[in-house]
Symmetry: C2
Subunit: 547 residues, 2 copies
């Protein structure tokens, strides 16, 4: 008798747990009511002092130690494996665990250092987690589909199963990084919550009432609880930025073609870590291996330009100019988000930077057009993946079930023409801000929400407008953590009248009691291919507000 | 009674001719038999000495004179208007003539220079011709469709008719260029020959038995006869390179996203002119106005790298390394093309550069996949344009009539996935050449044909493989003129057995008597976004072979 999809999923789920060494098991997982926040003191209680020190060091400082021989790669790797094991038991954030291979790689790195007295590359001994979308030799890729278990992207007999390795993974290895786990995603990847029939639901470590976000939700949860210093996700509608924002992390959504593997970008605990990873990858000249990457090396001059504007003494011509968009006019963000925007605006103004109201072309048009691109194939690809095992779609992505019509080539062309026009209109609006700013330059970056909530409550993520406009325009964005929900300050605006169903859903989902303690973040958005500048600004803004 | 499409086309055709001043009319147009080659002495006989001097000066030297006040913009403009008028009467190469507006612009430039003692920009007073695909204020755009006459891209009441101006045109104006005519294209733009129901067939000035090429055929013919120093076309399958090659010109096919307006690039009489135009346009930061342009300024360091390799004394490590591909293994080029390749290879070797055999992944797979993209909409767009006036399709593009099925979104996605894989495979082949070259570096550029013939005979253009592979891979390519057909040397290879119908068609179409005197060119192909390097190499190769 064939095994049911439930049976296959259970087997896989248990095999993930079984890969966690017995000494790292948590005997009694506390309930959400007992332990809403499992970060900080709680998780530290399972770790040695040295493991705490290592795992609470950011990627920049880790490689300072590992590339100078102060820390051994194997010790760093083991510490993160331990903390990641705890994370998975508390949050359901891993799809693949391969600690033995990781420790073997780490040993090889230590041997190399011992033999040659120098690191193998700039990421020597740095553990890096990856979203379960990238392929790693000897490891499966399920992307949350039961039907992909034991296959290569749903197919068998391809010869690629557990052999093929993504270009990005090869480059990370060349740089000295150590891969040790792959993180959870929502099946379809098309959700701001991470849920699938294999591992279940990925929780937010800072507040387990809430989602860790999606689609790189496993990355968000794992790095949020410091089970990884840095990881890679993809972002075609907010999939890096949403988990980064929900977990108090920095996250970069690069423009398409800047890094290998369309839409790929890093999440980390500091902005400096993002820069480290981007610079390291660009140093590998990825355009020689990925045909869709543009030959744009890391531009020091762009970074310096931002630094000199920040340091400028002249407030009339030299400082930075920001656009601020607290609401997109469609869904009003909940109180803590508005407070976070306010914190950033005040901090910027206090340093003499200019902040002007961002009044762009209506985002609703942009978001509506971009959302069509998700439906081009009438859900054919997604339905095919579900039909492999006959597993059901989760509520979060059930809309795809209703699709039945594929767009024709002419319809697709029409959407693309319209998107191009919307991009052009936005570009010209951006250019026009030179007339509004006292610097005479255009706005350097836009400060705005990543989502209307600090983090969504399970099954309540229903509005992608705040993240998706950035993808539609192919802009560069960096998420910056700002504050935490404080139920005493962030009270419900009792008199607010929602304008429509989406607005109402956001309004009703916010409950200070449930949200208390959750991370609150904003994003810093720049034009296309402005990674150096946006990382510089994000680091500066984070520093200003003490994050 | 409504006017027939024939009537509308005739009216338009006559209005173009009517825009030519009476004193510039040629009374007796010689037949092809009487005057195969209308360049050189023949066309000069209609021009004053000063007009000959001006029109036979390349764009680089023209702007040297106009930006320093030695030549007046109005004199330069008038000279090219005159020569372009002759060109159109002999070759059918213009769709729009607006000499009055051009002379007015030129006067304004002269006034500016007089008043401020300096040029308005680096292209001050340079006449630039444009393919009839770009929009210019006060001028129509028909793209060869009778149904587009009196409309904006086939639509009426858009408010854009004769008002809208393409971004590229605005940038050229900012730089000081003078627009004076728009050049002919094949209706649909999807042909290597230029023919439509408005102006008829565009002939090759060097040998009027042959086509001027397409789709930027009007540009090719006009610049070929020196009725323009430089012009812009687009190239999605060879549309810049084919006319450049057929008319003894330099032509740049940039990678997508390097210049405004997808696929746009210059054709000119010298490689230096191409560089002038590209540098001038990039100086305008087109990425601030065209959302699909990447922020990649002109890179002097790339140019210098090529220059230092060229000048290097070390033949083992320092010189350039070329791949040479005389045939793609599908259609064997005719004798003069093979001779041109040989001339280039010998010239390079004589200077100590390395030339190795280019043995890439099979081009047939690449070309086949790329050709599908042309058929995605089942010809819907094209058929719609023809149905506006009920005009018939020319034989050259009649294949579109037979299409009836649109690709679905899933089918389009499959083609794109396959193309991406083919790009990746080619990239890795290119990387692998580092092992084959004695320099230890990868091949710098590939030398190969642009088409299997020096220029096609009317109705014989049926194989796009030599140009299309470059578009499929989004590579950078520059056409370099090499020699001319010599019926005494370039005899038919009588013993050759064609391998299939396409190969047979090429073989049979070559006739030394008909082809005698035609231009013969090659292309220099580089990886994606390598415009600086390929222009540097093309200029060097052209210099070596005396063109």
């Amino acid at each position: 008798m064939a095994i049911s999809w439930q049976g296959i999923a259970k087997q896989k789920r248990e095999s993930i747990l079984a890969a966690i060494p017995a000494e790292w098991r948590i005997e009694n997982i506390p309930s959400v009511e007992d332990k809403r926040d499992v970060t900080g003191a709680y998780i530290r209680s399972f770790l040695s002092e040295s493991e705490v020190e290592i795992t609470e060091t950011d990627a920049v400082k880790i490689v300072e130690k590992t590339t100078s021989g102060q820390w051994k790669a194997v010790d760093v790797t083991r510490a993160f494996c331990h903390r990641a094991s705890l994370a998975h038991q508390l949050l359901n954030c891993l799809h693949e665990i391969f600690f033995d291979a990781a420790l073997e790689s780490a040993h090889a790195l230590d041997d190399y250092f011992h033999k040659y007295g120098k690191p193998i590359g700039p990421l020597h001994g740095l553990p890096v987690s990856l979203k379960d979308q990238l392929h790693i030799k000897d490891v499966e890729t399920t992307m949350g589909y039961v039907g992909w278990i034991g296959t290569f992207e749903g197919k068998t007999g391809t010869g690629k199963e557990k052999v093929y390795e993504s270009e990005m993974v090869k480059e990370l290895r060349n740089l000295g990084a150590v891969m040790y786990c792959k993180t959870s995603v929502p099946h379809t990847l098309m959700s701001g919550e991470t849920v699938n029939n294999i591992i279940g639901y990925t929780l937010n470590p800072k507040n387990r009432n809430l989602t860790a976000g999606g689609s790189s939700g496993g990355e968000g949860a794992l790095i949020g609880i410091r089970g990884s210093p840095v990881g890679f996700g993809t972002d075609i509608g907010g999939s890096i930025r949403i988990p980064a924002a929900f977990n108090g992390l920095y996250g970069l959504r690069p423009s398409v073609g800047r890094l290998p593997y369309e839409g790929m970008g890093p999440l980390a605990t500091t902005a400096g870590s993002l820069r480290l990873l981007v610079k390291a990858i660009l140093s590998q000249q990825p355009w020689l291996h990925d045909p869709l990457v543009h030959e744009i090396p890391w531009r020091e001059s762009h970074e310096q330009e931002i630094q000199s504007l920040i340091r400028s003494e002249s407030s009339s011509s030299g400082k930075l100019c920001f656009g601020v968009m607290a609401t997109d006019g469609i869904v009003k963000p909940s109180p803590p988000i508005l407070r976070a925007i306010d914190i950033v605006v005040k901090a910027l103004r206090s340093q003499g930077h200019e902040v002007i109201e961002w009044q762009p072309p209506f985002h609703g048009d942009i978001v509506e057009e971009a959302a069509k691109t998700w439906d081009f194939d009438g859900g054919a690809d997604i339905k095919g993946a579900f039909s492999l095992s006959n597993e059901p779609m989760s509520q979060q992505v059930a809309n795809f079930e209703k699709l039945d019509k594929q767009y024709s080539a002419a319809e697709i062309a029409a959407v693309n023409v319209r998107l191009r026009q919307l991009k052009k209109d936005y570009l010209e609006y951006w250019n026009s801000t030179a007339k509004l700013s006292r610097t005479g330059r255009c706005v350097d970056a836009v400060v705005c929400p990543v989502a209307p909530w600090p983090a969504a409550r399970p099954q309540w993520f229903a509005y992608y407008g705040y993240s998706l406009w950035v993808n539609a325009l192919d802009y560069t964005s960096v998420v910056v953590p700002v504050t935490e929900v404080d139920k005493k300050i962030d009270t419900v605006d009792a008199g607010y009248e929602p304008t429509d169903e989406r607005d109402k859903s956001c309004y009703e989902s916010y409950d200070p009691e449930i949200y208390d303690g959750a991370h609150v973040s904003v994003q810093i958005v720049g034009r296309r291919l402005q990674e150096e500048k946006m990382l510089g600004i994000a680091e500066y803004v984070g520093g200003l507000i003490g994050k």
